[in-house]
């Protein structure tokens, strides 16, 4: 074996005669989902995450309370959804969700995604995860899945909190869709969950961008801020008619298409188009994050 030490296997190296090493090479067991479980546990038990989700839940609650307190025959101008709240509590979650789409949700996702790698780097735990060894690709995937879990949780919290507070403060009833058709309470709850899923998908492209930015720096706050700025910039660009050619390429292009889930029949193509767009962002920024992270010098 000393003839070709490089090509020799781990086993022969560790059983070389005249040495005292006692540890055998351990092959990996399974997929190592424990790291994902631990990532999710850390993410969702973290005070910061809980605070962000609580802040999101506060949005529909504040809307509902404000409308309840001020609604003495109000038919004020404003989003049509807000008007419907008073007639039907089921709209609180939906109204809260739509209100959170442009800023609050991207903000929290920016924090979660920007923190992924840069947060570990700033704690110094990145080097210990990597020498464990977590494997750079595996760690990147786990981090991305963690952000996806956050993208699922965040809109869901808004919808659930809104629905609960709506049920408490307002009457419940059948829901009028945009098309003028009326659906039952149970179907409308299903639609609300579908909208939540739509928004989750909407945020995944931004997560991928945040993940990539997070691999660029050891300063999580910088990565978070950059991700949030990008989400705002995309929406500004999306509102400029001069850049109309660019709009379909923006990850925020279909964000407000979430209301297409309130048409009869459901405009599934909207869901599909959004998913494909987000998938494109995941592929592009996932590849960038991969290339950056596997070549990154861990000096933190």
């Amino acid at each position: 074996m000393s003839d070709s030490p490089v090509s020799d296997s781990t086993l022969s190296a560790s059983t070389a005669p005249g040495e005292t090493a006692s540890v055998r090479a351990r092959p990996p067991r399974g997929l190592g989902l424990a790291l994902l479980a631990s990532e999710l546990a850390i993410l969702f038990r973290r005070t910061r995450t809980i605070a962000m989700l609580a802040a999101l839940a506060a949005v529909p609650i504040l809307i509902a309370v404000a409308v309840r307190v001020s609604s003495s025959g109000s038919s004020g101008r404003g989003p049509a959804f807000i008007d419907q709240i008073t007639q039907n509590g089921l709209f609180v979650g939906v109204a809260g969700l739509i209100l959170c789409i442009p800023l609050f949700l991207p903000l929290t996702v920016g924090v979660a995604a920007g923190d992924t790698i840069a947060g570990e780097a700033s704690h110094g735990t990145l080097r210990y995860l990597l020498v464990a060894p977590a494997g750079r690709v595996r760690l990147l995937i786990v981090k991305f899945l963690g952000t996806v879990a956050f993208c699922i949780a965040a809109p869901l919290v808004v919808v659930l909190a809104g629905t609960v507070i709506g049920a408490i403060l307002f009457p419940l009833g059948n829901v009028t869709l945009l098309s003028g058709d009326t659906v039952s309470i149970s179907e409308s709850l299903g639609r609300a969950l579908l909208m939540s899923a739509y928004v989750s998908v909407s945020l995944i492209g931004l997560s991928a961008i945040g993940l990539f930015i997070s691999t660029l720096t050891d300063t999580p706050v910088g990565a978070m801020a950059a991700t949030i700025v990008i989400s705002v910039a995309a929406q500004v660009v999306g509102s400029l008619d001069q850049l109309a050619w660019l709009h379909p390429w923006l990850f925020s292009y279909h964000w407000l298409g979430v209301v297409d889930m309130l048409r009869q029949p459901i405009l599934w193509s909207s869901f599909g188009d959004n998913a494909i767009l987000q998938l494109g962002y995941v592929i592009v920024f996932g590849a960038l994050a991969y290339s950056r992270f596997v070549t990154k010098s861990i000096l933190s």
Binding site: I98, T176, G180, D260, I283
Partner: protein, 377 residues
Amino acid sequence: MADRSLRRWLPAIVAPIVVIGGALAVPLTAGAAGVPPEKSAQEVLELVGSNEVTALSGTVVQTSELGLPDLSGALSGTGTGGDSASSALELLTGSHTARVYLDEAQGARVQILDSMAERDIIAGPDGVWFYDSSEDTATHLALPDDPTGSAGTDGSQSDATDTVPTPAALAEHFLDAIEPSTAVSVDNTSVVAGRSAYDLVLTPDSADTLIAAVTIAVDSETGLPLSVAVTAKGQSAAAFSVAFSDISFDTPDASLFSFTPPAGATVDEQLPHAYSLSTSANGEHDSHLGDLAKNVTVTGDAWASIVELPVGDLAAGASEESADPSGSASSLLDAATEKVDGGRVLSTSLLNVLLTDDGRILAGSVPVALLQAAAAD
């Protein structure tokens, strides 16, 4: 080492190229549905006439690149979101998507998909409903007899099949009617909504018109027109187009054609004769047009026709519509038009409108100079 890290950067270079390339390439290759047999213009027109589509559901996209000045600011300033003038103008700018459901036996439904809102026209067994989600208003037009006739709201070609005996005769008739002023040809085939179609191209012979061509994509299997595009001279992209972006010939769910106004909506019951689909996407927009017609004179012929009417009538109509204490209508007019010799002109790539200083309106798909000449006559 350097080699290795170079290889690791490969995905970062390849992925954007593949994704962007794929996104650009997919529409080009979508529905490589086989090239249909060649057909003459006459045969394609016969195909249109023989179209027996009785049920469909699809999405229609209408785009306008008329080169109109952006009036969105001025329009919203007038605060008349629901009235017919701004609806019509709104439809002439930008892009609109509508879902269309048709079942000759049941009815028809058109949904104009606005952002965060929707306008629905439902023609079904219980009459015609118009629903506007942004206002939460429902308007009902009861149809005392022949409920299925309402299906014609959408499918004008199915009306044609009712009244014209044979497709061949229709085609011949149509060709005879337009042949003197128009070259009709089948240029090539295209793919619309994933279906292969013949491009029937109507090219005006007149040198005076702004219209370069009207292209109608006719589904090679059913004969249903899938898109209509109007191209202005000197432009390659269509100035105005209506096209299916997807279509299916399955019978839509019957529940789509029955409508019960939602609780809490403002419901307006109208009698058939008093009702006009003034805010609908298609059909005649304006009830004023009927009155105006008496004073209208038409000069020129075919594609280069110029319509002339005294401005008094329109001014009355306009002030009635957009009751403007603040004079916003005139500012809107100023924003939209520019000064030329003899008046002001509203110029688009397909249509020019001249408002003469002496109070007449001349309109036509002709250059401004021709309008000025006609005004001088």
